[in-house]
């Protein structure tokens, strides 16, 4: 496998210029995600309008995979319902952990750029940190931080 399968152009781009990289002053929920093993740290801001995630953003620092993954996630999830976000979480979980070479990546759109991560088991947590943070923010609003360990 070539390094370019991991560091695809989309990922390099989103790492260099992360989208929705800002604080939401009146966020409905704010949650910190932390990967103590590599020091990846992000704060996720989420604004709910009824059942719909009307705005989603993040701040923090981490490796290219974690930053790009968070950036892609905010882009994709913004405007979706809580139910749709949960569905996307499951799809991403499959993409990052299951060896399903024949699966249809089409519905994932740009998120499919993270499919290369699967071949690097030590990097899966980098890509999934933001998704776990989102899931916890939606399901357990009382939580303050999420850790991968």
């Amino acid at each position: 496998m070539d390094l370019k399968d991991l560091y695809q152009d989309v990922i390099v781009d989103h790492n260099r210029s992360p989208r929705n990289f800002r604080r939401i002053a009146d966020a409905s929920r704010t949650l910190e995600g932390f990967n103590p093993l590599c020091g990846d740290k992000l704060t996720l801001y989420l604004k709910l309008d009824g059942d719909r995630i009307s705005d989603l953003s993040f701040e923090g620092s981490g490796c290219a995979i974690s930053v790009a993954s968070a950036s892609l996630m905010t882009e994709r999830v913004k405007g979706k319902t809580v139910h749709e976000a949960a569905y996307l979480f499951d799809s991403m979980h499959d993409l990052l952990t299951r060896d399903n070479a024949n699966a249809d990546l089409e519905p994932l759109g740009k998120l499919a750029a993270l499919s290369g991560v699967r071949a690097y088991p030590s990097r899966v947590k980098c890509a999934s940190l933001c998704w776990h943070t989102l899931k916890t923010a939606l399901e357990q609003p009382e939580q303050q931080t999420v850790s991968t360990e």
């Binding site: 490796c63 290219a64 980098c126």
Partner: protein, 421 residues
């Protein structure tokens, strides 16, 4: 004492005849390709590779005389005991301890430090007593003392480090008070490679009647260690970082101190007589070796010691000093690379960051070039905080590494720039 911090680096011995490629051939794991490239193993501070002689010693024990030690009267048990105790004597000789009673086999440096904290510390320390350690400690020389503080009410005092990654000159002396009970210090920092001026600090501690434990896990594979010359009271190290097996390590303790320490773990081997109303404990060192020990590990460690004596620790130290200087020069030429830890006295470690590229990405990219380095906080989160980095990339050396290995590393790091162009 401050002047002694400023002493010049020792002269470099002539090492033109040190044949690293020849020694490298003794390590089977180094003869492989990773992702189609020859393996360049630069993660020795995490664990070292094992020479054939160590692998064979472990295998021979299991194949020929596997048996429990100190128990049986049968032939195999006698052979196993002889090999196990022979390994203890090898270790004693290697670190110049006075007696085998001072050599306690443990699982590793971590367990050795926990043993001292729980046996020596817990029986003596009271609320308000102070334990000094440094900002550059590995978590294994922080957390056991924190646990002890929770149990006894003792408190930690921390020697700060400078931007170069050296202990703040004079800071240690200032921390000593009438309540200081212990000094626990890395001989060599695993995250920075700094060699601490331990002799001076031990002298200072002893002036205050404070015993000293040195965490020698990163020193023993790189420098000749003489515990009596150092004058330390305890010295902890791991077998697997000095080309021996995992799961075995050593606590050296001065006999006078060990004699007065209560047992830590109870079980077989550490007792002489057990009755329900009273148990008599065994002599040193067995009093601190409860349960069947890692017999194969100890025998393997003995073989590693034999091997290191054969290569020669003074030659290893001199060669690695040159190799480190070379690696420092090569890495400094890499665009946007910053070394973390630039102490005057250093061994074995090149910790660095590259602007705009996270260490984790660096680790993955150089791995594709066959280069194994560690990325992360190196179990020294306070060090990362001190240098305001979430993590670093760390190349760590052994005597089987060569200049070519460091050239490959520098090229691989350059490659990371291309990925993120």
């Amino acid at each position: 004492m401050n002047a002694r911090y400023d002493r010049l680096r020792k002269p470099i011995a002539v090492t033109a005849d040190f044949d690293a490629p020849r020694w490298r051939r003794d390590f089977p794991a180094l003869r492989q390709r990773v992702h189609g490239k020859p393996l360049v193993y630069l993660d020795n501070a995490a664990t070292s590779q094992k020479p054939r002689i160590v692998i064979d010693a472990v295998s021979e024990y299991y194949q020929k005389f596997n048996s429990n030690v100190h128990r049986g009267v049968h032939h195999l048990s006698e052979l196993a005991t002889e090999a196990f105790e022979g390994a203890r004597e090898k270790v004693r000789h290697f670190i110049h301890a006075a007696s085998v009673r001072e050599i306690i086999f443990v699982r590793g440096a971590t367990e050795a430090i926990n043993l001292v904290a729980q046996s020596y510390g817990r029986s003596r320390f009271k609320a308000g007593d102070e334990i000094i350690l440094s900002e550059m400690e590995h978590h294994s020389n922080i957390v056991p003392w924190q646990l002890l503080c929770e149990q006894t009410g003792a408190v930690l005092r921390v020697i700060p480090i400078t931007d170069a990654g050296e202990l703040e000159p004079g800071a240690c002396e200032k921390l000593f008070t009438s309540r200081t009970r212990f000094l626990a210090l890395a001989h060599v920092s695993n995250a920075l490679g700094t060699v601490n001026p331990v002799k001076d600090m031990i002298a200072c501690a002893h002036e205050h009647h404070v015993p000293v434990l040195l965490d020698g896990a990163q020193a023993v594979p790189h420098l000749p260690v003489d515990v009596r010359e150092l004058g330390c009271d305890f010295y902890a190290f791991s077998g697997h970082k000095m080309f021996g097996p995992t799961g075995i390590g050593v606590l050296y303790g001065r006999e006078a101190l060990l004699q007065n320490m209560p047992p830590w773990q109870g079980g077989g081997d550490m007792i002489r007589v057990v009755r329900f109303d009273q148990t008599l404990y065994n002599d040193l060192p067995y009093r601190f070796e409860a349960g069947t020990p890692d017999i194969a590990g100890a025998i393997g460690l003995g073989a590693a010691v034999d091997y290191l004596e054969h290569v020669g620790m003074p030659a290893i130290e001199a060669y690695e000093r040159q190799l480190l200087d070379y690696g420092t020069e090569q890495l400094q030429r890499v665009k946007d690379l910053k070394l973390v830890g630039t102490a005057r006295e250093k061994v074995g470690v090149l910790s660095f960051s590259v602007d705009g590229i996270h260490p984790h990405d660096l680790g993955t990219i150089v791995d594709r070039e066959g280069v194994a380095i560690r990325t992360g906080h190196h179990c020294a989160m306070p060090v990362m905080e001190r240098f305001h980095v979430p993590a670093t990339a760390r190349a760590s050396l052994a005597f089987y590494n060569t200049r070519e290995d460091l050239d490959t590393l520098a090229r691989a790091v350059e490659k990371a720039h291309q990925v993120f162009l």
